[in-house]
Symmetry: C2
Subunit: 601 residues, 2 copies
C-alpha cells in the first residue's frame, strides 16, 4: 500500500472536517484493532491509510492545525521518509512500548478541549492511562467516536476468510477438553463468564483456525464463555453448516460479530466476568453491564496455550524436520546458484525459501515476512526487501535470512547467516560470538521457578564480554500452528520477571542473539527450544531446553578459533542430530549440502 | 547469651501479666531496633531475651495462652532446638523476607482484640502492611506499647561507645562535601528536611564512626538534616567536646537521642520531609507533625554511599592487599599446623585468622562473625562454631572459611575452601563448579543500565548445568569501612530488578556462589569486585568488574580437568596478580605459601 502525499493531505482535511462536525479538537488513531493483534486486518489500518506510514506500530494524533506520529527507533528512518511532505511531524519514542503521546495530549490540549478516539481499538490499559492523565485537566475523552468510518469511503469490511477446524491428528486435544480446562480455571477465579478478544487465544480454545490476516492462522472474533454455554462472535458467512453443528455439539452458539456489545451489556447483574486487562480494549469492556463483577487477571488460555503437550511436541518435531529439509533444499540451491553466477536478489531468497517450504507436507503459509538482508541490510533487525528497494546478492559478505513456516503440526522460526564470496575476519568473529551466545543459553538448565527474563544474561554474556549488545529481546514464545510471537514468556532484560513469565514445561521460545553493525553487516542465529522437565534432581526440580530447530549453522563464516572445546563439542553434537534427522528427508544436492554443512569441526 | 527454659517461662508469664494490665490480647516482638540494623544492640534483643532463640531474624507473637516464633529455613533447626520445652511453637517461613505472621494475626485474632507492639522498632513497611491487613477486622493495633520496658529489669541502656571521625586520609571527602551532595538531592526532590535513621547512612553522611554493635563500625542515632542546619540525635556522652565543635562548624547540633520525636513533631507545617520508607520505623515517622508534606523515596545517601570514589578505591586496594597478606600468614600457619598434627578446631581458625588480620595496619575489627565450617558444618551457609558445638579439623575433607575485616581504608569479605587430608573426586568437582560460577561473573562485562539481579544467572549457569543451585544470593553490596552488607544493589534472582539496583561505577559487590551438600560438605568461593566504567564502546557504554580480593584460590581441591582453557587462563592471570601484589607484604613461610598457591595450572 503506497500512499501519495496529496492523498495524505486530502484525507487529513476530511478528518479535520469530521472533527469539526463532531466538535472535537483532537483525534487519536492508534495502531490496533479490537483484538489487539500483531497483524491488522485492512479495515483497521486507518493510521497507515491516513498518514502513509506503513510500519507495524505508530500512533497518530491530529489536531486542527497540527499532526504528529509517534514511532519507536525501529521506524524512525522509515517514518521520516514516508512522512516527508505530509506535514505530519515525526515524534520519536526512544523505546518500544513507550507512550509519550499520552503525556503530550495532557500537556498540549487545554481545559475544554476534547479528544476523539475509537475506543474499540484502544487497549484497556491505554484507555485507563489516558483517562488518568486527563483527570482534572478539563480535557474530555470521547472514546465512542470512530471518525474514520465517515471519511474512508472504500474502507474494507471485516475479513471474510472461512473459519475451519484445526484438523486431526494435529489438533491433539478436543474442543471439549480445552473448554473444560478453561472453565476449571474460571471456577478457581470465581468467574461465571470469560471474555476472550485476542485471536490466538480464541483459536486455541475453540480449536479453530482462519486466514483473516497474514502469517497468523487466526480469525477475527470474540468469545464470551460461560460455565454452561459459549457465544462466538464472528462475521457472518465465515462458519459453514458443518462447523456450526460441531460447535453446537459443544454448546457454542455463533452470533454476529457486532453482537458482542449487546451480549456484554445484557450479562446478568449478579454475574462475575473475567478478562485479561492486557488483552481487551476499553471499548469492548465499556459495553459490560453496570454491576457485573470483574475478575481482571491473565487469561487461562494464555498459560494453557503456552504449554505444548507431549502429543503436540511430537508433531512439532516432525514439522521442524520438514522445515529443516526445506531449508537444505533452499541452501543447496542458493550455493549452486551463487556458484553459477546467477543474479539473486533478496526478493529471490524469499521466493525460493517459501517455495521450498511449500513443497513440504502440511505447509500452510509463511509464519512472518521473510527477512533476507545482505550486508548492510542485515544490520536492520526488522528489514524487509521490497520491489522498490532490495539488494542483489553479489560480491563478498554475509547474508542473514530469518524466516519461518506455518505447518498444521507446528510453527517454525529460524535465522541463519551464510557467507557470500569472502568473509572478513571481523565478520567471522561476530558470527562466532553470536553462536556462543545462542549456544550458551541453548544448553542452559535452570530450576523450576526461574522467570524467562532472568535467563537473558546467559545469552548476552559472551557478547557483553566484547562490549557488544543488541537492541531486541533474546527470545519470544512461539505458538503451535498459531502466532509466531506469543506470550507470556519472553527472554529479555527489558521485561519484568513477572509471575506469568515463569518457565514451565512445554513452552517454546526462540533464542536469537545478534550483532548489528550499521551500514556494514548483521548477524543473528536463531533456534527454537522447548522447555523439558528434568524432574527432581538432588537440588530440586529442573528444566532444560530441547533444541527443536534442525538446520546446519554455517561454520564457513565463523571463527572457530574463538570456540572453547566444550562449545565445539556442542556444535558437533547438534550437527550430528541435524544430519541424522534430516537425511531421510532429502536427496540429491540437498542431501550433499546437508552432509557438507554438518561435518564435525 | 544462653537462656534456660525456666527463664523463658517466667519471662513469658511476666509479659502476659503486662499484657493483661495493658488490656491487650497479643504482643508482637519483631527482631529490630529503631534503626533497622543488621546487628542489634543488646537493648533491642528482646525477642532473644524472651524466647531464648538467638538467630538473627525471627518474629515472636505471644497470646494469652499461646506463643509462636516465625523463622525462615536458615534457622529452622536452630530454632527447634532452642525452643524445645519453652512451649513456644516454631512457625516455619519458607522464604527469607516472608511475613506470614501478618496474615496469621489477622486470621487468628477476633473483632475487639488488640495487639501491642513497640512501633519504634517496627519498620514503616510492616506497620502499614499490618494496619492494612487489620482494616475492617475490628482488631486494634496499639503501636505505642513497649511492654518489654516494664518486665525486663536489667534491660541494657543505649550503647555508650564514643563516636569518632573517620580519620584522614581514609575519609576522603569532607563532611561539608557530603552534606552538600545530599542537600542537592533533597532540593531536587523538593524536600526541606531529610530524616536518616539507619546507622550506615548516618555514619556515611556525617563522616563519623562508632562501635555500638559488633562488626559494623557505626553508632546509634538519627539525623534530621535541613538545608541550613542539621540535628544529630545520639545518647549523651558519646560525642566529645572536640567533635561537638567540629560538628558545629558544619552547622550540626547534637541533641539527646530521645529528642528526635520532639523535633519531628515540631517541624513547621509548611515543611517537606523526605525519608526512605524502607529505612525508617513506623514509630519514628509517627512522630512527624500533621500537615508536614512527605517525600518517600530511596534516600540520597544510599546511592551516594554505594559509589566509592577513586580515592576510596585506592585505599580499598591497599586494604585488600593487607587482608590478603594476613590470609597468607593464616593459611601458611594452617597448613603447617595440620602437617604437624596439631589439634585445630573451627574456633582456633577464628582466633588465628583474626589475629593475623590484627597484625595488619589500620585494622579495626572483624567485619562479621567468622564462618569456619569443616565438612558437614560447611554445608550450613550461616554456620557459626561455638564453645558448645564445634568440630575438630581432622581426617579428610573440605574446610570452608568465610571471614572479613574492617580497616580504616576499607571493608573485606572473602570465602575460600581448602583441602584437609584427602579430598574426593566429588568434592573436587564441586569446587571446580563453584569456581566456574564465581569466575564467569567476575569476568563479565555489561552495558550501563543493567540491574544487579539480572546478572545472577551468569554465576549460576555453570551450577544449574549440573542440576545444582544454592539458596542464598550471589552477591551483596559492601561498604567502605562500613557495613559489610549494604544496598542498594544485590545479585540475586529472588530480588526484583528495581531502578535502584542499576549497576553504577564504584559499587562494590561480593560474588559468592556455593554448593551445599547437607551432612557432607559445603563449598563457597567469594571475591569482592568493584564496578569499573569502561567508557563508551562501539555499542554503548559498559561496566566491568575489577576483582578487589587478593588471595589464592586453592587448586589442590579443584578438578582442573573441568576447566576450559579460558577458565584456566583467568585463574592464572588472577594468581599472577595476587602474587605480584602480596609478595612485598609477606615473608618467611607466608611468602612460601603464597608462591606455592599461585603457581600456574
Amino acid at each position: 500500500m503506497t500512499t501519495t502525499v496529496s492523498q495524505v493531505h486530502s484525507r487529513l482535511t476530511a478528518l479535520r472536517q469530521a472533527m469539526h462536525s463532531a466538535g472535537v479538537d483532537a483525534c487519536l488513531i492508534p495502531s490496533a484493532d479490537p483484538h489487539l493483534s500483531e497483524y491488522l486486518p485492512e479495515r483497521w489500518q486507518g493510521r497507515a491509510w491516513l498518514s502513509g506510514f506503513t510500519g507495524s506500530v505508530g500512533t497518530l494524533i491530529v489536531l486542527k492545525d497540527w499532526a504528529g506520529l509517534w514511532v519507536d527507533s525501529r521506524y524512525w528512518e522509515q517514518a521520516a521518509s514516508q512522512l516527508a511532505g505530509t506535514g505530519i511531524e515525526l515524534m520519536k519514542l526512544v523505546a518500544v512500548q513507550q507512550v509519550g503521546w499520552v503525556d503530550w495530549l495532557a500537556e498540549h490540549l487545554a481545559d475544554g478541549n476534547s479528544i476523539a478516539v475509537d475506543g474499540q481499538v484502544l487497549s484497556l490499559g491505554l484507555t485507563r492511562l489516558l483517562e488518568q492523565k486527563l483527570l482534572g485537566t478539563g480535557i474530555q475523552l470521547r472514546a465512542d467516536l470512530d471518525l474514520l468510518e465517515s471519511i474512508w469511503p472504500d474502507r474494507a469490511s471485516l475479513p471474510q476468510a472461512p473459519v475451519y477446524p484445526h484438523p486431526e491428528p494435529y489438533a491433539v486435544a478436543s474442543r471439549a477438553d480445552r473448554l473444560a480446562q478453561v472453565r476449571e480455571a474460571m471456577k478457581a477465579a470465581g468467574a461465571d463468564w470469560l471474555l476472550i478478544s485476542t485471536v490466538d487465544d480464541l483459536a486455541w480454545v475453540t480449536g479453530l483456525r482462519g486466514a483473516d490476516v497474514d502469517y497468523n492462522p487466526v480469525f477475527v472474533g470474540h468469545l464470551l464463555l460461560g460455565q454452561e454455554r459459549g457465544l462466538l462472535f464472528v462475521a457472518e458467512g465465515k462458519v459453514d453448516q458443518a462447523l456450526l453443528a460441531a460447535l453446537e455439539d459443544d454448546d457454542i452458539a455463533v452470533e454476529p460479530y457486532d453482537a458482542i456489545a449487546g451480549a456484554l451489556s445484557s450479562l446478568p447483574v449478579d454475574a462475575t466476568l473475567m478478562y485479561d486487562p492486557a488483552r481487551v480494549t476499553g471499548g469492548i469492556v465499556g459495553a459490560v453491564a453496570e454491576g457485573v463483577k470483574r475478575v481482571e487477571q491473565i487469561g487461562p488460555t494464555t498459560l494453557l496455550k503456552s504449554r505444548k503437550s507431549a502429543a503436540e511436541a511430537a508433531h512439532i518435531r516432525e514439522a521442524m524436520a520438514e522445515d529443516g529439509a526445506a531449508l537444505c533444499e533452499f541452501f543447496a540451491w542458493l550455493e549452486e546458484a551463487l556458484a553459477r553466477g546467477e543474479s539473486i536478489t533478496e526478493l529471490t531468497i524469499d521466493e525460493q525459501i517459501t517455495a521450498a517450504r511449500a513443497r513440504r507436507p502440511n505447509y500452510i503459509c509463511p509464519s512472518f515476512a521473510t527477512i533476507a538482508g545482505f550486508n548492510a541490510n542485515g544490520a536492520l533487525p526488522h528489514y524487509r526487501a521490497t520491489q522498490e528497494a532490495h539488494s542483489v546478492i553479489e560480491g563478498d559478505g554475509l547474508l542473514l535470512i530469518d524466516s519461518g513456516g506455518q505447518y498444521l503440526g507446528g510453527t517454525t522460526d529460524i535465522t541463519r547467516v551464510v557467507p557470500v564470496g569472502e568473509t572478513s575476519a571481523a565478520q567471522k568473529r561476530d558470527v562466532a560470538l553470536v553462536f556462543k551466545g545462542m549456544m550458551a543459553l541453548s544448553r542452559a538448565q535452570f530450576p523450576h521457578g526461574i522467570k524467562s527474563p532472568q535467563l537473558d544474561a546467559i545469552a548476552r554474556a559472551p557478547l557483553w564480554a566484547e562490549g557488544i549488545d543488541y537492541g531486541h529481546g533474546t527470545g519470544h514464545g512461539v505458538g503451535y500452528f498459531l502466532n509466531v510471537h506469543e506470550g507470556p514468556q519472553v527472554i529479555s532484560y527489558h521485561a519484568q520477571p513477572a509471575p506469568q513469565t515463569t518457565m514451565l514445561p512445554g513452552m517454546i521460545t526462540s533464542i536469537e542473539p545478534g550483532i548489528y553493525r550499521p551500514g556494514k553487516w548483521g548477524v543473528r542465529i536463531e533456534n527454537l527450544v522447548m522447555n523439558q522437565d528434568l524432574g527432581e534432581l538432588e537440588f530440586g526440580s529442573y528444566l532444560a531446553f530441547e533444541t527443536l530447530t534442525l538446520c546446519p549453522i554455517d561454520t564457513r563464516c565463523m571463527d572457530l578459533g574463538l570456540l572453547q572445546e566444550d562449545e565445539k563439542s556442542w556444535l558437533n553434537t547438534y550437527h550430528a542430530l541435524v544430519r541424522e534427522r534430516l537425511l531421510p528427508k532429502v536427496s540429491g544436492s540437498a542431501r550433499d549440502w546437508l552432509v557438507r554443512r554438518t561435518e564435525p569441526v
